[in-house]
């Protein structure tokens, strides 16, 4: 009996270790970077739900991950650090875009390589960026046209909401 108990005790310990290990991993994840590669920065007006760890891809092929997202307190732009694979040097005039996997999907960064002969240097900025598209904001503009159309449009709260929508579009 004692022998069996030892085996069960060991397996129980393994199960607890697995649970604690995954919990620890899930709590520490996000601050980690790949380590082998080079880092470039890109500034976006809107990152949407982009998260550290998201994939950076060129033509759909993964070339790196997002290592951190911070806010530049002067310009109010989001500074996204990209950890790129050393095997894929990218032209200096490449364009970084935030794209979505699907209507409800997670967001990631797509890089469209430019034509420059110079490559992005470690630590440099990607100059050309295109932030996340606020899909629901766009839909909202179609549903509630910002121009006050008068009583003909029918819905009563529309005039009250319209200035907000306009301000949102301008920002």
């Amino acid at each position: 009996m004692a022998k069996e108990q030892w085996a069960e005790t060991a397996v129980g310990a393994v199960v607890i270790a697995a649970a604690v290990g995954f919990l620890a991993y899930s709590l520490t994840v996000g601050g980690k970077t790949g380590g082998h590669g080079y880092e470039v920065k890109a500034r976006f007006g809107q990152v949407g739900s982009l998260a550290p760890g998201a994939v950076v891809s060129v033509a759909g092929v993964k070339v790196g991950t997002v290592s951190s997202i911070t806010l530049d307190p002067k310009t109010y732009l989001a500074v996204v650090k990209l950890d790129l694979d050393a095997k894929t040097p990218l032209p200096a005039d490449s364009v970084a875009k935030i794209t979505s996997d699907g209507l409800l999907g997670g967001q990631h960064v797509t890089i469209e390589p430019g034509g420059s002969t110079d490559n992005l240097k470690p630590g440099s900025d990607i100059q050309n960026t295109q932030g996340a598209v606020d899909l629901f904001g766009l839909v909202g503009q179609f549903l509630r046209p910002p121009a006050p159309a008068g009583g003909a449009s029918g819905s009563a709260p529309a005039p009250a909401v319209a200035p907000d929508a306009k301000a949102g579009a301008g920002a």
């Binding site: 069960e8 199960v15 697995a18 649970a19 899930s26 760890g53 991950t65 996997d101 699907g102 997670g106």
Partner: protein, 264 residues
Amino acid sequence: MSEVPLALQPLRSVGKSVLDMLRTAGQVTLFGVRGVGALLSPPWFFGQLGRQLMGVGYFSLPVVGLTAVFTGAALALNIYTGGGRFNAEQIMPQIVALGITRELGPVLAALMLAGRVSAAMAAEIGAMRATEQIDAMKTLSTDPFRYLVAPRLLATVIVMPLLTLAADIIGIAGGWVVATKTLDFNGAVYVKNTWDFLQGWDVVSGLIKAAVFGFIIALMGCYHGYNSSGGARGVGRATTHAVVSAAILIFAADYLLTSAFTHR
């Protein structure tokens, strides 16, 4: 018997089975009340409680862990398939987390424990009944409810939420492994989506369910063991009844609790 007309015989048997059912429900309730009542006043048998905590809790970890990891992995694949039908594969981590913490973690852990623990309790107490150890215990003025039933009830109620917590984490880890190894999900994003989406209540409601299931498991095991009769066959019958009735009550309680939590 003979004075009942033939035409009324079916009615008679229906009435008898209804009365039997009521009597069983009453017996189980009284048994549970006595078990809980034994917890409220000394003497307590802490050695028994410790042994039950180890036996019911720690040694159930392998079974619960294995169940959880495979369920999480299979759930991830199925939700990926289902999500793919309307281009929403990416919300798979959130649905897996919700399904595991709210439903599958507590219910599967409880079913595994019903098989493992309820049966063991019924067999152990049933064997003690068959060999008249329970009567001997009473003769020595040790209350079997204090010595046998109360520690098992308390230990299972304490241990079930802890096992469910382990099952939650391991189940989500199972989904994570499948998602990252075969479905090209990013591990960090998967975890972040899960954390961002999951609310405290998702986990806590699962743990409340687990505690209730724990009470059911121990109650069924002890009740059927304590009331077994007829020697070795009686023990076997008690074991079967304990597992089956525990499983049925778990499902019924699961629905009731879920609907109570949903409309709160």
